[in-house]
Subunit: 170 residues, 2 copies
């Protein structure tokens, strides 16, 4: 963390001690991660700790692993009904390999046997189709907005309830 920040003061209304301006460091715009040359217009908060990548790239990587997980779920559900033998083989492979790294899982599955290779190719196709056609991106955004509001309200309400209860007991 080598730089100062662009502080959206309108959003941060909490009273914190006065900043020590003599410690302020050179301006480093958040746009360093984007290709837009909008140094001056950028009003975004500076997010450190992502190196050359962006928070969006980090989130996309996590979603990518999640899509592989979903694709495996879809394929196993399909196989369970239509092809019990392949289902058993995939379940057995799943018991031995972690799905945390989706690409590594698929790479290993491909190399297990020719039958496993077919399953791996199917998972690759399903995750691409799921990501592009089935996954509801707008819904994801809507749910995330709703979740942050709900969680913030709930955390503050619980805290107030707890502290007013304590004061009541005094």
């Amino acid at each position: 963390m080598e730089s100062s920040t662009i502080l959206p003061l309108s959003q941060l209304s909490l009273s914190l001690p006065r900043p020590n301006r003599s410690r302020a460091r050179p301006f480093r715009p958040w746009t360093q991660w984007t290709s837009q040359p909008t140094r001056i217009r950028c009003q975004k908060m500076y997010v450190p700790g992502f190196g050359e990548a962006s928070p969006e790239a980090k989130a996309a990587k996590n979603l990518h692993n999640f899509f592989t997980y979903v694709a495996v779920k879809i394929v196993t559900a399909q196989l369970e009904s239509y092809n019990p033998e392949a289902y058993e083989e995939l379940m057995e492979f799943l018991s031995r390999h972690s799905l945390n790294d989706g690409d590594k899982f698929c790479a290993n599955l491909m190399r297990e046997s020719p039958r496993h290779k077919s399953l791996a190719l199917r998972i690759l196709e399903v995750r691409s189709a799921y990501c592009k056609n089935d996954f509801e991106w707008d819904n994801l955004k809507r749910l995330a907005f709703k979740m942050v509001d709900k969680s913030n309200t709930s955390l503050m309400r619980d805290y107030i309830r707890e502290t007013s209860h304590l004061e009541h007991e005094k």
Copy 2:
């Protein structure tokens, strides 16, 4: 996994053994998670294993924790420049508490001391502002699409390179 699936055959061109139709189970549409009464029109793949929730809700929950992580990063970077004492306090708290569950982290931070409470409220405000204003949702989608294409191509290319090399050696 109690049901059969809606199989987008156009997307799944891989030759798998013929389905055993006698094992097919009752139709259960993917739309059970959405509010749309489009049983017949739904062409989405059935995703099992999310209970009453949806994959979108699961992904939103993960993003929610990620936004808390980002908000903590933003606030610590701000404090490092402007308020070294609060920075030290937050870093010390971070060394003792996991950020895996963002809401739990904030709840604990609120209850640590009145000064920590101010930091917690600031983190709540920043994560909401970040999620709604700064995070580039379109970019996330674009990067995820790009990632799935790139990973699929790369996995298949590596496999073909490896196997053709083996055949060449024979």
